[in-house]
Each structure stands twice: as C-alpha cells, then as structure tokens.
Symmetry: C2
Subunit: 203 residues, 2 copies
DNA sequence: AATTGATTAAAACAAGTGTTTAAATCAATT
DNA sequence: AATTGATTTAAACACTTGTTTTAATCAATT
C-alpha cells in the first residue's frame, strides 16, 4: 500500500490554475495533466471523472470559507449588542477575501468561475445552500422592514458584485486598476457598497 | 442576386437561444444550425467563423441598449436640475430591463453570458467601452467626494449585481423567486440597491 | 431557355474530447 | 527474493469540435 496523495494533489493544483485561466468549460483534462506532469488516466483513477474532479477542486476551498463565515456569524449573534449591517456583510464577505489572501492567486481566479459557470458548479452551489438561508435569517433580523424576497434579492446582488471582481482578467477592471488596490482595500470598498445597498429603504 | 437574410436571421435567433440555455463555450455550431434548420457551412458562409457569429449575436442587441442609455444620460444632463443618484443608476440599468421586456426571453439569458463568459465576450465588452467612461464621469459629478477608482469599483459592483440576476437558471434564485417578480419590480429593487451602494460614504 | 451569381447541402478534414483498457512500474510486505 | 496491491503509463476507444471543399440548388437576369 502506498499513500502518496502526491499526484492527486498536483492534479488539483493544476486544475485550479487552468480553470482560473481558461474557464472550466474550455479546459480539457489533457491540459490539466500536462501542467500536473501526470497522465490522463490519473484523473479517472484518483477522482473518477471530470465532474468529480471539479467538485473536489472547489470543495476543499469552500469548506473552510463557509466555516469561517459561520464562526463570524455565530460570534456576532452570541454578543449581546445589536448587529449592524456592516458587521453582517463583513461576516459574509470577509472570509472569502481573507482566505484568498493566504492562498495562491489562482484560487481567487478559480472562485470567479463559481458563479460564472453555473453549468458546472450548480451542484456545488446547491450543496452549500444552508449557509445562505442562515445569513438570510440574520439579514432579515437586522433589516426587519424588508420582505424575505427583498432580502434574497439583495443577497443575490451582493454575490454578483463579489463574483465580478474576483475574475483576474475581467475586462471591466483592467490590470492596473485591480492590482493597484490591495485585497484589504477592495474588501472595505465592497463591504461599504453592499452594506449601503442591503440597508437601502424598503420603500 | 438574392437578399433573403432569412437563414442568417434564423441562425442568429437559434444561437441566442442555445447560448442562453447552455452557455457559449458549451455550444457547438451543429447545435445552432440544427435548431435553425440550416447547414453547418451556412454559419461560415454568412458570418465567417464561430467568433464572428458571437459578435453578431450580441452586437445587434447591445447597440440599441447603449443608445437608450446615452439618450437618458443626455436628457438628464440637459435638464437644469441637479442629477440624483437614483436617476443616474436608472439611466444605466433601466435600458437593459426595458429592452428585455420587449424582446423574447432568450435575449435576457443571452446577456447573462456577457459577463459570465469573458473568454468569448471580451472583444465585445471592450468595443462598447466608451459608454462606461461616459457614465463614470457622470457618477463622479453626482458623488464628487468619491475617487475615480472608487467610482470605477462601484460601477463594477453594480454590473456584477445586474449580471447575476439575468441568468434564467442561476442556482441562487430559484424559478419561483425569479418569476414571482415582474421585470419592473426587479428593476426598482436593483436600482434601489445600487443607488444606495453608489451613494455610500466614501469614508 | 440559358446563364449568372448567390445560397445551400453533404461530405470530409485534421484535431481534440472524456473515458477505458491492459500492460508496465513502483514501494512495501511476506 | 518473491509477491502483493497500489499507482502510472501508453494506446486506443468512440465521438465531437470548427472549418473547408466540392457539388448541387436556387432565383433572377439576359
């Protein structure tokens, strides 16, 4: 018996990089194994299929992010003082940015694909669905004048705003604009924007 | 000589539908011509390549939308009364929704791909780039305390929030939630959200 | 009715796709 | 040293991809 994990780890990292660069749909297994220095069959040996590989690639990153999200939310709710909208948006968004800060760049680009290629990532998003409902409850508690539908909408807007800035090569923000800003600055900007949006009058 | 336009029109409509349903990257030319009742070679005869077809598909819709955007912006600036943030966000977002309202559903799904598959749409987005700078100036005029970079960021957030709700089958909003809301309701919600976000304190 | 030029059609092209098979290789245990 | 079971490899599988070619078809003009 042999527990190398060595090749499968290489494949996961290579897949992250190629997915981030070229997208999931446009990526062939051969492009992955070439970068990983492995054989095509290794993917099916270690993961079973392309789809299962995609699940594995995202899963190991989503798990810790959502755990930190829940930890922050729990901490907020444990405290006696009333929760502010900025705190809640922070609990939802900051874990992504903090996770990206301590991971290789490709992980950020990988996550840009999460919302931009639903074809492939739908089962992944659906799997981590409970956390959205958990935050929805929290948002409705902070902004009780909003209907459930309104909260849901605004959370979706928020995720859209987050998704679009992750993409390392999105045409809307060119390289200079993006890289001039530190991750921390970007985080504070997006929190300000979305906290204001979430708190907008229900009318 | 013959000016049928008939087949190329069929191809454009079929392409819209299949792009909306399955994404651009995942769509083969054969899937398009099958739905259009045409031959594979017809695409290359009428458009030249898959890439050129994609350009043509988007171009005929983007043009009128951006024209209406500019018309609204010009009207606002022509008026003597100071422009409000809601008015400006409305001028930017409403033309898309109004255009979708008078087009077949597939056009909405098609536009969801515009920001979610930059691989294919980058040249298109870059081509219609001037209008973004035009609106950036307007936003900076309405919110003079914001830096150019901040305005750019917030406009990007806004486009992200818009892009994510266009997708007809995005996992975040399930069918009931989406269809329960009329287009007009959705528009007013997203305008409120983004106007508040754009107007958030610069700190 | 014949000719012209635009349009369509079927077939083939070379290259790339995810997946499977069967043999080779490896490290560790007997 | 031989055996075992996990891992890797090269090759082939059947199928799809965008594009090109060549011949057929069409409507209109001569």
């Amino acid at each position: 018996m042999q527990n190398d994990q060595h090749t499968s780890e290489n494949i996961l990292c290579a897949a992250e990089e190629v997915f981030a660069d070229n997208g999931i749909a446009a990526t062939s297994l051969r492009a992955i194994v070439k970068k990983a220095g492995a054989n095509v069959a290794a993917i099916h040996y270690h993961f079973g299929s392309k789809e299962a590989l995609i699940r594995a690639v995202f899963h190991r990153h989503i798990e810790p992010i959502n755990n930190e999200r829940l930890a922050l939310l729990n901490a907020l709710e444990a405290d006696t003082s009333p929760i502010t909208m900025e705190q809640l948006v922070h609990a939802f968004l900051a874990p992504m940015f903090h996770y990206f800060a301590r991971q290789p760049q490709r992980v950020r680009g990988l996550f840009a694909r999460l919302h931009s290629e639903p074809q492939w990532t739908r089962p992944i998003l659906q799997q981590h669905h409970k956390i959205l409902e958990r935050f929805q409850q929290a948002f409705m508690h902070v902004a009780p004048e909003l209907s459930a539908g309104q909260v849901r909408f605004r959370m979706t807007f928020m995720m859209g705003s987050m998704g679009i800035i992750l993409s390392p090569n999105h045409p809307l923000l060119n390289g200079e604009q993006r890289e001039a800003q530190t991750m921390e600055k970007m985080l504070s900007e997006i929190i300000k924007f979305n906290a204001a949006g979430m708190a907008a009058q229900a009318k």
